[in-house]
Amino acid sequence: MINVLFFASLREQLGCEGLRAEATGITDIAGLRTSLAAKGSKWQAALASDQLQVALNQKLSSMDAAVKDGDEVAFFPPVTGG
């Protein structure tokens, strides 16, 4: 399983803080994103943003990074701290 997290406006749009996704058939983050988008039109819309950021195991990552069982993947909008 892949531990998936959502933050900030994305979390609110989805009404979901996180979920566990089946790792079978998922090779990279882009694939995980596609499978999540298939959960419905709300998911499709929220995950379509070209501003979407992703972290793999708590490090900023790119969409083409490989994922495997046991990984933690977080999606979020551009950060605004400081």
């Binding site: 900030a8 406006s9 972290a55 708590q58 900023l60 977080a74 950060v79 605004t80 701290g81 400081g82």
Partner: protein, 159 residues
């Protein structure tokens, strides 16, 4: 002095004066201390075109990654400049106008190194550390997510 990096991501407030004292304690080698503090403003940035009074700011963060991202940024700064102590404190949760949000402090034997390190850390923190601000107008319970600014991403290019 040997490099010492200290990071806190916390809900509680902090005292910049106490942070200064910790940066200086038993530190007789570094003659320079630079500090930056970010506070909650009472108005939305002028870029938004309206002067909206913000009663409360809510800061969301990614626990775990927030600490490691800040540690990573501090280490990068220490690779570029000869730093002694580096301290970063970042709050999360509800904040009121005037409250401290973030503290960045660095000591060095060289004044420009200490100042540049603070600028570098703030620039990377703004665009690379997982914190998100939501502003609440007075009397409103809705809240608006603060939008990332291109100028913050642009600021990284100078390093």
């Amino acid at each position: 002095m040997p490099l010492e990096i200290s990071i806190s991501v916390q809900a509680e407030g902090f005292d910049p004066g106490a942070e200064y004292n910790l940066l200086r304690s038993e530190n007789y080698v570094d003659g320079a201390t630079a500090m930056f503090v970010g506070n909650v403003r009472d108005f939305s940035p002028a870029e938004s075109g309206e002067q909206q009074s913000v009663a409360v700011l809510e800061l969301e963060h990614y626990p775990g990654m927030a600490e490691s991202a800040l540690t990573d940024i501090a280490r990068q700064a220490a690779q570029r400049w000869p730093l002694g102590r580096v301290r970063i404190v970042h709050r999360y949760g509800p904040l009121a106008a005037g409250d401290e949000i973030v503290f960045v402090g660095a000591t060095s034997a060289h004044r420009q190194a200490a100042l540049d390190a603070c600028a570098f850390i703030m620039d990377f923190l703004k665009s690379r550390a997982p914190f998100w601000k939501k502003e609440f107008a007075k009397g409103s319970e809705e809240g608006d997510w603060v939008q990332a600014r291109n100028s913050d991403e642009e600021a990284l290019k100078k390093w």
